[in-house]
């Protein structure tokens, strides 16, 4: 198995493991920290996919701002570890969880069996599996260009900016407006309760 493959498995484990530990950790602070691990893992996966700008954005927005906000609120509200009252899972949500996991497994199997015979296979016999080994990732190009109506993938920020300001101008402005609305909403919310909701 070559280097980048190993890296993929490593970061995949990091993000999945972080997510799982987050869901099952008792203390909110541990949960937040595992979430950060998971987010950094996802950012590294973006790097593997040549999406450098998105990777940095992921760390900047999620790990740098969103999770700090979470930690801040956890500490502000002084949330302790979930005690006996909160840790007993209600029958209904337990059943729901089981069903959802079951559905996921079915989906996963469907995906795995339907399109690819060796999603879980090891490296040795993967070579025998024609379809997956034959897949070639397209070469990435540095230029900023539009192919018909769709933009060509490029790791540069410039292509990103071009896409945002040319093709997606309206969504960009809507997103900006959404952020403004969120800010106003948060200010009003925190004003009313005379407390520290952060924007």
């Amino acid at each position: 198995m070559s280097g980048p493959d190993l890296l993929f498995y490593f970061f995949a484990t990091l993000s999945l493991g972080g997510g799982l530990l987050m869901v099952f950790s008792r203390h909110p602070v541990s949960a937040a920290l595992f979430m950060i691990v998971s987010l950094v893992g996802v950012a590294s996966l973006f790097v593997l996919l040549d999406a450098f700008f998105l990777a940095i954005l992921q760390v900047l927005v999620y790990a740098g701002a969103v999770m700090v906000l979470f930690l801040f609120i956890i500490m502000l509200l002084d949330v302790g570890p979930s005690g006996a009252k909160a840790s007993k899972v209600k029958l209904l949500s337990g059943v729901a969880g089981l069903i959802s996991v079951g559905l996921l497994v079915v989906l996963l199997l469907d995906l795995g069996l339907g399109s690819m015979d060796c999603s879980e296979c090891s490296a040795e016999n993967c070579d025998a599996c024609g379809e997956s080994a034959a897949f070639a990732w397209p070469e990435i190009r540095d230029e900023t260009a539009a192919n018909g109506n769709s933009l060509i993938f490029s790791p540069s920020v410039k292509a990103f900016g071009f896409g945002l300001l040319a093709k997606y101008m309206l969504p960009l402005q809507v997103a900006g407006f959404l952020l403004l609305a969120a800010m106003v909403g948060v200010i009003i919310l925190s004003k009313k309760s005379t407390a520290e909701g952060e924007g």
């Binding site: 869901v23 998105l54 609120i73 949330v79 990103f160 896409g163």
Partner: protein, 102 residues
């Protein structure tokens, strides 16, 4: 990347989404529910970037950008609501928010 295909990324994205969904369903601390939602969005982001890269098409990546924007706005509003709620009900557990039930 020789043996890693978009399928691998897709399966990972599914698993991330599933773990997040599990968290939303079984956890009853609203903070953790919010975090699990973020995890679900992350799963989708992984899938989108993988599609975008495999199809040599930037549109998917740009969509991830918008998802992040929306997620940041969602978290800020959600946390502000949570704080406001905590001031009123002194709890952040979902089962205590049953004003209409019982």
């Amino acid at each position: 990347m020789n043996t890693i295909t978009p399928h691998h990324f897709l399966i990972l994205a599914f698993l991330l989404f599933g773990v997040g969904f599990l968290g939303v369903v079984i956890r009853r601390n609203v903070l953790l529910v919010l975090m699990s939602l973020e995890l679900m969005l992350n799963g989708i982001n992984v899938a989108l970037v993988a599609f975008s890269r495999a199809g040599a098409n930037l549109d998917g990546s740009i969509f991830v950008f918008f998802i992040m924007t929306v997620a940041a706005a969602e978290v800020s509003v959600g946390l502000a609501l949570l704080v406001a709620l905590y001031k009123k009900r002194k709890s952040i557990f979902t089962e205590d928010m049953n004003l209409l039930g019982n």
